[in-house]
């Protein structure tokens, strides 16, 4: 176990590091070509999130969203289900959490858990639909989830505009949640750190969602590797025919995988509504739904790695925001960097090619014939 972890994990890490280095270099080249002050722009991109507490807060808040979404994606991708429905599940999760936070007259210690539960339930239900379509009708899950995303978004906009928005509001948004409906700060009231706590509360919106995220990570890991459901999930992903012959109810597994994944995307929605914005606004997901895919891919669908890739990836995004605000570069450059990272990380041949090149070089230097016959396994991880 340890040996496998060492070798393949090291290779994975190397692969990700190479991909990020290449992508960032490319980003720098673009910046040099475009910007009047490329060094300043790139510096704000690379170090921006660490320069002020509120920027640090933005980074952590967005990373929490990304980690929830990454976990959601990892669950379905592990079963080789290419569900892209996280965006829709997230937006409906935000809607459910927001509705509870706004309209359920309960004290905070009951209302907030209820809001979180509501988001989870709605995410689960919205995930059931493509799961059922895939399992029982063999409907392509990519197409169905993409369509359901738009439908979810329209439901959200419709309810927000016609039911949730206060009639006297000038723009389309709900009222701001009261303290009873807002997720409290992550910072525990420790006696001597009162000032620091106030500072964090003023400058950032990092909430208890941070702890929820940590719990979710552990739960998803446990679910995936230490429960029968997780075993079935991985079997369906590895070889669905084999899984079926092995007596696994693959249909049920597919439906559950999609729905459970929806729970996590729903949590992401609860976090953006009740933790970050503290009200419901149009375009509340900021297109983050798809970013979970990248977080999961970078972690090779390993739940325990997702917090790290989520933080790294959130850092890129937060840096891009700072760059856009402080220089003449637009933040979309980061989308190009993202795409390059995905391509390089998922290209199975690139690492073996580099390894082979190095080995051949070394062999030639030693006067040995090039080790062509040696086949390096192209598959890393699983």
């Amino acid at each position: 176990m340890k040996k496998v972890l060492q070798s393949s994990a090291m290779r994975e890490l190397l692969r990700v590091l190479i991909a990020i280095t290449v992508a960032l270099t490319l980003g720098f080249i673009i910046t040099v070509l475009v910007s009047d002050d490329p060094i300043g722009a790139y510096k704000s991109f690379l170090f921006g999130p660490l320069t002020k507490l509120n920027r640090f807060g933005d980074w952590i808040e967005e990373s929490i969203t990304l980690i929830f979404l990454g976990l959601a994606v990892a669950l379905v991708f592990k079963a080789e289900l290419f569900s892209l429905g996280q965006e829709g599940q997230m937006v409906l999760g935000a809607l459910a959490a927001g509705a509870v936070a706004l309209f359920v007259p309960l004290p905070g210690y009951l209302r907030i858990p209820l809001a979180i539960m509501a988001a989870m339930v709605v995410g689960f239900l919205w995930g059931l639909i493509p799961g059922y379509l895939k399992a029982y009708l063999d409907a392509n899950e990519i197409v169905s989830t993409l369509m359901l995303n738009v439908i979810a978004l329209k439901i959200y906009e419709w309810l927000l505009t016609y039911s949730i928005k206060p009639p006297d509001a000038g723009y389309t948004a709900s009222a701001t949640f009261t303290a009873e409906g807002t997720m409290p700060t992550f910072f525990p009231p420790i006696p001597f750190l009162g000032e620091l706590r106030t500072l964090f509360m003023q400058q950032t919106n990092i909430s208890i969602a941070l702890y929820l995220m940590i719990i979710a990570t552990v739960v998803v890991y446990y679910l995936m590797y230490h429960t029968p459901f997780g075993y079935e999930l991985r079997m369906v992903g590895a070889n669905i025919k084999f899984a079926r012959y092995g007596g696994i109810n693959t249909k049920r597994t597919i439906v559950l995988a999609m729905a459970v994944s929806g729970i996590l995307a729903g949590l992401a929605g609860a976090h953006v509504a009740g933790g970050i914005h503290r009200k419901l606004i149009l375009n509340i997901t900021f297109g983050l739904g798809f970013e979970g895919i990248i977080v999961a891919i970078l972690a090779r669908n390993n739940p325990l790695l997702i917090p790290f890739t989520g933080l790294a990836y959130g850092y890129l995004r937060a840096g891009a925001d700072v760059m856009e605000r402080t220089s003449d570069m637009s933040r979309e450059m980061v989308l190009v960097i993202q795409a390059v990272i995905i391509l390089l990380v998922t290209a199975e041949r690139i690492m073996p090619m580099i390894q082979k090149r190095i080995r051949t070089n070394r062999a030639q230097r030693n006067g040995d014939p090039p080790a062509d016959a040696e086949v390096i396994p192209a598959k890393g991880g699983d």
Binding site: V34, F82, L84, L133, L137, D138, A139, N140, I142, V143, S144, L146, M147, L148, V150, I151, K154, I155, E157, W158, T161, Y162, F290, I293, I297, S330, E332, M333, V334, L335, V336, Q338, A339, V340, I342, L343, T346, A347, E348, R349, I350, A378
Partner: protein
């Protein structure tokens, strides 16, 4: 606006003409999606290819003041972008869906990024004077009252969409290349064993899908509108993919399915004048796609059951069973 006005609007020839116009940027990429799907490579990147082509067409036509150079540039960029997908999937072993997602992200970000550099605006290219492809007036038909309104006066991409539907049919079913392509999609190992170069065939299929997607993108930015808007494809690449499945993976079926989506979209425009929440109306094409997926799946399952029943009753001979089994 009262409902009867809307209904009268739907029954008018102008409405039918608008269906054809709205369907064009779905039919073209859908034909591309069909070709790559039949070759066994699902092209998720149609959306991104459309976007980069739409962008390239507008930019090149604006800077060269030549519409056709714009169209050419859009096609070349689209094909090259598709070949990037082929390179990563076929030769670097990237999962095709992940590579497709990456290319879509790059297209969305890259076009906005370049648009901002060139115009200082992230929204659209309205400050650039980009070209529009000409519309075609069909000599005789144009003068016939109803038919003239419906069939004449469209932009060339609309006519191309229908011409290509026929050509793609001929290509897929009547040429050796098309037969090879479908063989590769059905069973790559068997195709390889009879000497077909699987990777090359799939690369050609992806390039062709890039060509059709690029026409779809160009039809959006140089005919339907005459400017580039950020994310102007708005999911049409994915709807095109759905049309392939709904159309039973045949050229004619795919085009008909695309027109159904175009109809839903045109209907949404008509309903826009009614006093109902616009979100309901905007939902129609997407809900229609989900329903279409369900119908397609149910139909396919019924067909399979029927086949199984006939097989069990011993009605079909062995050669036909083999054909059924390969489906």
């Amino acid at each position: 606006m009262p409902i009867d006005v809307v209904i009268r609007g739907i029954l008018s020839p102008l409405f039918i003409a608008s269906i054809l116009r709205i369907s064009t940027p779905i039919i073209l990429p859908a034909l591309g999606g069909l070709i790559s799907d039949l070759a066994g490579v699902i092209n998720i990147a149609l959306e991104g290819i459309m976007l980069v082509s739409a962008f390239a067409g507008v930019i090149v036509s604006a800077y060269t003041h030549n519409v056709w150079l714009g169209v050419l540039a859009g096609m070349v960029v689209g094909i090259l972008y598709a070949l990037l997908l082929a390179l990563f999937h076929l030769y670097l072993d990237t999962d095709i869906i992940l590579a497709g997602i990456a290319l879509n992200i790059m297209a969305a970000g890259g076009t906005i990024f370049l648009l901002f550099i060139l115009t200082g605006d992230k929204g659209n290219s309205s400050t650039l004077a980009s070209g529009a492809v000409p519309t075609v007036t069909i000599p005789f038909i144009d003068s016939i009252p109803w038919l003239g309104t419906i069939f004449s006066g469209h932009n060339i991409f609309t006519y191309l969409a229908f011409i290509f539907t026929g050509l793609v049919y001929v290509f897929l079913y009547k040429t050796p290349m098309g037969v090879h392509l479908r063989a590769v999609g059905e069973n790559p190992v068997a195709a390889e064993s009879v000497g077909i170069n699987v990777k090359r065939t799939q690369a050609i299929a992806i390039a062709l899908s890039g060509f059709f997607a690029s026409l779809g993108g160009l039809s959006l930015s140089m005919a339907y509108l005459t400017l580039f808007q950020n994310n102007m494809t708005a999911g049409r690449g994915f709807i095109a993919l759905a049309a392939v499945f709904l159309g039973g993976r045949t050229p004619l079926g795919t085009t008909i399915a695309s027109i159904i989506f175009g109809f839903a979209d045109a209907l949404a425009n008509q309903f826009g004048s009614l006093d109902i929440p616009p979100q309901w109306v905007q939902m129609i094409p997407y809900a229609a796609t989900v329903i279409a997926l369900v119908i397609y799946s149910l139909r396919r399952q019924a067909k399979q059951r029927e086949r199984l029943r006939r097989f069990q009753e011993g009605e079909i001979d062995d050669t036909k069973t083999a054909e059924a089994g390969s489906d």
